[in-house]
Amino acid sequence: MDQRLQNTHAKLLAFDLLSLTQTPSFSTYEPITFTRKNTIISRTEILGVITSRELKPNKFLKFTIDDGTGCVTCVLWLNQLTSPYFSRRNPANVKLIADMAAHFALEIKIGVVTRVRGRIAGYRGAVQVTVSDVVVDRDPNAEAFHWLDCIRLARNCYNVVAGDAV
């Protein structure tokens, strides 16, 4: 299994991301390993139009990104101030993370083109993204550039790493 892309935010089109192979692993931190042509992919960058938004205040914001090839479910956690996961960390840092997540949540609106980075996760058998960064893209050509980036990277980089250039 090739691990060279493991710490990279791989730019993937939704149909490509949604067709990653899922394999259960023994790690409690990452219970599922996601692979593309025998290459481990754990983080991704996607871009598309927000088509749904479901807010659970102080818990999470779940939203959908449609890039024209598929719909990806994304989850932005908003529970940093109450979750035991953050209880041993520096409270000032946790506050910063919580403020940033709250700011991202305000930016995510239906109809807006957004670039999202995050960790690939599985939920009930489906791929979803646990969000770490959100940037609203106001360039009307951003989606076309993103498609071209994804195609170029798949052909010249991701497929080559996998030893299967197309």
Partner: protein, 125 residues
């Protein structure tokens, strides 16, 4: 956090939305781009145009969007094909894309379709 079944809007050009097209199906989820040619406030029906092709868009479910004749818009929604074979897009998402390079968009769309077809062929072979 049950998964919602929201279909993606298949990227199509207005010229491709004719009755003989594979995209021209009742309930098909599509994403179209065109210049606003007409907008009737009372019915919230807009007409988008790209070249010689036009499409009626039902915008009644859209919020936080203003309609300006001559501006370019992108809509995602489901096709409603009427008995006379005229299609209306029931838009659920809409945005202004003034400044979009339609030539770049159309060329990129062709490359994207080719890439998807290659990917599908490689994964099935």
């Amino acid at each position: 956090m049950a998964a919602m079944a929201i279909k993606h809007g298949e990227l199509v050009t207005l010229e491709e939305l004719n009755p003989s097209s594979p995209f021209f199906k009742q309930g098909a989820s599509v994403r179209v781009t065109g210049k606003l040619q007409e907008y009737i406030v009372e019915t919230a029906i807009a007409v988008a145009a790209d070249g010689n092709a036009t499409l009626k868009i039902d915008t009644q479910h859209l919020r936080d969007i203003s309609f300006r004749i001559g501006s370019t818009y992108q809509f995602i929604g489901e096709l409603l094909i009427q008995p006379d074979n005229e299609a209306i897009l029931q838009a659920r998402v809409g945005r202004i894309v003034d400044g979009i390079d339609l030539s770049l968009y159309h060329q990129s769309l062709q490359l994207l379709r080719q890439f998807q077809a290659d990917h599908l062929n490689n994964s099935t072979s």
